[in-house]
Every structure is written in structure tokens, then in C-alpha cells.
Amino acid sequence: MSAPNSAPPRSSFRVGGMLVGYYVLCPRKAWLSMRGLWMEQESTTVALGRQIDENSYEREQKEIMLTAEAPNGTPLIGKVDWARLDAGVLHETKKSPSAEEAHKWQLRFYLWLLALNEVTGPQGEPFAGELNYPKQRRTEDVRLTNAHTERLQEIVQSLQALSRQKSPPPRREERSFCQKCAFEELCYG
């Protein structure tokens, strides 16, 4: 899952799942990440996340690349962790549920990409999502409703505006929230 690493000219502006998750948590985080100012490569938690990704599940289908176009023309891109196509389920595996809200939106975003591509499950039903937290032995069902789809469209719209913004949005107010963020040193150091 990768966010674009710099905000390119609008023509090559693309929105990915992680960026959507970031935006939901903190627009500043999304902006910094679009500018290529993120440092997650270094962070051990991310490395750990990747490991869990790679080892926790026998994958049935791994890393499915999805692309689509939002109704407003923005190119969308998604790299899905793994899926059970025969059951119509997309999976996303995460290290800890501390940013569960972002994880949910990331997965909803992928479900949306499938919907935009008119991909359905075996019985023609929309795909379902499942968030997996193997360390906590927890799974969370995620669905895509009409309200979610609308919200996703708004998010894409906002991200587009954000990518043209010269300066970053303000920091989030709650320090406790930022203390869990990989960008904390960039914002408060």
C-alpha cells in the first residue's frame, strides 16, 4: 500500500488507500505524505506491520492491484493485501487497531474501487471487507454503504484540493493522538 510520494502535477495525481486512511486521521498527515515527507520506511512499527503482512496469513490471492476513476475524474489506485475471490471478501491486515478508523476507510476505499469496476462476489453480491488484527486475534467486518461512498468522494475531492495547497494544514490539537503518529517528530520535533 503506498501513498504517492510527492504531489505531482494534477495530471498524475492519484489517490491510494493509505492516503485516504491518513486523511481521515489527520489532513496534515495526508499532506506531508503527498509531499514525500513521510518517514515510515524507517519506522520499526511499519517494518513490523509488513512482517505481519507477510507471515500471518496463507494468502489465497496476494497483492491485487486495482485502479479506477472517481466520478470527478481523479485516478484511484489500490493495492489490496489479500482476497478470497470465491467468497467475495477483501482482507486488510494490520498490526494494531490503534488507527482502526483509518484502516476501515482504507478498506472501504478498496471496496469502492471494486464497485467502480463492477466487480462482485460469486453470487453477484458486492464484496465484503474484513480487517484482520492477527496479534490481537481480532477481525472486523467492513461494509461499504451509500453514505460511505459519498464520503469517499468528498475525501478524494479534499485530497485533490490539499495536493495543491502550498503549506500543510495545521497540526491536530490532541497531543495524545499525535504521540502515536509516525510523523510526530516531523510535526513537533
Partner: protein, 422 residues
């Protein structure tokens, strides 16, 4: 946890599948004698023995300019000196064995020491080390920079891996802030102001421990404060550099007093770097180049382009932004390290040797310095904004982040260089 590796041996550094391997050259003159002292992560501190310094080789030292001010940073490794053979011979120093408690698992007494690349944050070569292209691409792939020092401890070159985090838009902002006079001045001034504030802090810290001579120190502090005021009105980076130099000269004049009894053997007439004319100058030059390398290493982990600078003129063959940043941290990292080493008499007159009209740290002196330096970088301090402990080295990174914020939002989030708050 990644760490710098400090290699003092002569030999070859190579890639052996997925590990790094230091193949030490054996000392031809005294077979069996170990050329230890390589400071690998987690290893015990090498003990200093052999105060007897090797006598000078007769090759001319290369690149004697103060590396922190004029580093020759090239993409290629150091050229082998023509007279390497004679240097190697005269430089053979036997040393105590180093005990080692963990990685690398290789015996330090062996001739071939493998160590995992994943544990290396950077590698310092103080000895005569050969590298080949296979190693260079291996290091580059793992983002490990290599720093070379010559036989005298002069910093000569760095092998800086391909940029991996650069951000196009940030680079554009960096350049915009450089080309716009006013913006550039704003940043250049911040570097100088922070540097002077830190100098003042160091003076205060040591002055409070003095029994006599405090008047001279107070006067120096006043002088530096007045220079700091003038820096606020300086009209260009060149003026700022001049003021900074002036403040440093005044500051250095206080050192013999600040060093007290232990400083008796360390006179200091003036700062000289080409070559260093006395032990204190040798320490400053060596420390400054280590400081430069730390700034460069830290910049490497950010999206900043290390060649675009504000206080120093960008040069073609150096990473001048690292020089800007280093200026801010020299008082904390270098100057205080020197004070500590001299005052505790860990560094003594016999740690220096005269060579070709200059004074240099002996190999064992360099080891002592590096050992303290490495500990110092890992020392931590409670950070007020982050509300957790941050290592001295990490403070340099945080400053790079502040600079990044400034470049993104100069009005809302202006850069103020790091100032010691303790």
C-alpha cells in the same frame, strides 16, 4: 537498532553475500600482533594502550583543510595514497584486544570479521580500507554511508548513497529559499544565532564551575552577545560567516581558562586548521569533521537535499547544508566533548604527534575521541515538546525536520535552530 561502525584497522571491506566483512590486513612487522580497536556496535570500548605514537611517515598529508568547513565530499571513495605502503608501515600500532558482547558475532581477534549490514547505520574508515564496486552498490542499496579519514585523521571523503527520500517539491522550496536574498538571510541568521546561543550556553556552563577567571569569561560572553546582536542586522551570509568566526575566536580564547588545571598543557594561540598548529586545534578539526558527518547522516534520512544551503555557500563537491546544521551542534557535540576529554585527562599531550608542520591526534587519541563521541551521541535528554527522551544525535534530525517545516510554511512555522535548554 542501527549504529555507526568505526573501523580503525587497515584492510578490505567487502560484501560477502548478505553480510559485510572486514578483512583485516595483518601487521607485517609484528605478525601475531592484533590491529584491533575497531569499534563495532555493542562492542566494549577498546582500551587505550600504546601511548607511544608511531613516528611520522614522510608522505604529505592529503586534504588538510578543516573538513567541517571545506570537506571534499565526492561520490567516490578515497584514492589510495601513493605512499600508502610506507604509511601503513609506520602506522602499524599494536593494540589491546577488544572484548565483544554481541553483534557482530565474529571474533574481533580474527582476521575476517563479518557483520550484518542491517545493523550498520554508517561506517567510518579511519584506517587504510579498500573497497570495491560490489561493496559500494551493496552499501548504497542498504542506505549506508561510508566516511573516509586519512592517516592523519583528516576527513577526506564520503560515499553518500543515492538519495532515497528526496521530495521534488521540497527541493524546489529549498532552492527558492536559497535564491531569495531575504529568505536565505532569514535562515542563515537562524543558524548563526543558534550557534552563538549554544556557545554562550557552554561558556556559562563551564564558567559556573570556575573558581577564578570568571571575569574574563563574563567579558567573552558579553562580546559574543554583542556579536549576536550584530548578526541580527547582518546583510548577507558572508557577513554572518565573518561574525560567527569572530565569535568563535573570542570563545576559543577562553578555553585555556575554562580547561583549568588540565588545560595547562594545552595552549591555544589561535585557531588554525591548515594544518592544525596545536593539540586543541587538532581536537577541534577532528571533532568538527565528525560533527559534519553526523549532520550529513541525519540529513540523509530526511527529504532535504544536502547540497542546498543557506549560511555556507553551496559548493560542488560538498554537502553544504550539513555544514549549516553542524554549526548549530558543534558547541554541544564537539566543544563539550573536547572539554570533557581534556578535563578528565582522557586525552593528554601524548595523544598528539607532530607531523609535517602540523599537530594531529595519534591513532590511540582518535580512538579515545571516537569512543567518547559515540557515547555522547547516544546520550539522551528529555525533550520538552515530544515529552520523551531524545538522543543528542536525534536532536540533529529534529533540527532537520524543523528546517523542513520552515520550508513548507516559513511564516507559520519558522525555523529556530536548536538551542541547549539544559
Amino acid at each position: 537498532m542501527k549504529r555507526p561502525y568505526y573501523l580503525f584497522s587497515n584492510g578490505r571491506l567487502c560484501r560477502n553475500q548478505n553480510t559485510l566483512c572486514l578483512e583485516r590486513a595483518t601487521d607485517a612487522r609484528s605478525p601475531g600482533a592484533e590491529v584491533a580497536g575497531d569499534r563495532l556496535p555493542l562492542s566494549e570500548i577498546p582500551h587505550r594502550i600504546n601511548p607511544e605514537s608511531p613516528t611520522g611517515g614522510d608522505g604529505a598529508p592529503q586534504g588538510q583543510s578543516d573538513p567541517a568547513e571545506e570537506p571534499v565530499a565526492t561520490g567516490a571513495g578515497r584514492q589510495r595514497d601513493e605512499d600508502a605502503a610506507s604509511q601503513e608501515e609506520s602506522g602499524a600500532v599494536s593494540n589491546s584486544l577488544t572484548s565483544d558482547d554481541g553483534q557482530p558475532s565474529g571474533e574481533l581477534t580474527g582476521e575476517s570479521i563479518p557483520f550484518p549490514i542491517e545493523s550498520a547505520e554508517s561506517i567510518y574508515c579511519f584506517g587504510e580500507i579498500d573497497v570495491n564496486s560490489k561493496l559500494v552498490s551493496f552499501l548504497s542499496k542498504h542506505h549506508v554511508p561510508l566516511f573516509f579519514f586519512d592517516y592523519y585523521g583528516n576527513y577526506t571523503a564520503s560515499l553518500y548513497p543515492k538519495e532515497h527520500l528526496l521530495s521534488g517539491r521540497l527541493t524546489v522550496e529549498q532552492v527558492r529559499h536559497h535564491t531569495n536574498q531575504e529568505r536565505r538571510l532569514r535562515l542563515a541568521r537562524s543558524f548563526v544565532e543558534a550557534a552563538l546561543a549554544n556557545i554562550r550556553r557552554v561558556l556559562r556552563y563551564y564558567a559556573s564551575r570556575l573558581e577564578e577567571g570568571t571575569e574574563g569569561i563574563e567579558e567573552a560572553i558579553r562580546k559574543i552577545e554583542s556579536i549576536k546582536k550584530r548578526a541580527q542586522e547582518a546583510e548577507g551570509p558572508a557577513t554572518l560567516m565573518g561574525l560567527e568566526g569572530q565569535a568563535r575566536r573570542r570563545y576559543y580564547r577562553t578555553w585555556p581558562t575554562l580547561l583549568g588545571g588540565a588545560g595547562e598543557n594545552f595552549s591555544f594561540e589561535r585557531r588554525s586548521r591548515q594544518p592544525p598548529s596545536n593539540p586543541l586545534n587538532a581536537l577541534i578539526s577532528f571533532g568538527n569533521s565528525l560533527c559534519y558527518s553526523v549532520a550529513l547522516r541525519q540529513l540523509y534520512h530526511t527529504a532535504l537535499d544536502p547540497t542546498v544551503s543557506y549560511l555556507h555557500e553551496p559548493g560542488d563537491r560538498r554537502f553544504s547544508l550539513a555544514l549549516d546544521l553542524a554549526e548549530v551542534f558543534k558547541p554541544l557535540l564537539v566543544d563539550r566533548a573536547i572539554f570533557r576529554l581534556v578535563k578528565t585527562r582522557q586525552i593528554q599531550p601524548d595523544d598528539f604527534e607532530e607531523r609535517l608542520g602540523g599537530v594531529y591526534l595519534t591513532e590511540s587519541g582518535r580512538k579515545t575521541f571516537v569512543e567518547h563521541w559515540d557515547e555522547r551521541l547516544r546520550q539522551t535528554i528529555e525533550h520538552r515538546r515530544l515529552e520523551r527522551k531524545i538522543s543528542y544525535e536525534r536532536l540533529v534530525r529534529l533540527d532537520a525536520y524543523r528546517l523542513t517545516r520552515h520550508l513548507c510554511a516559513p511564516e507559520d512555522d519558522p525555523y529556530e535552530g536548536f538551542e541547549m535548554w539544559w
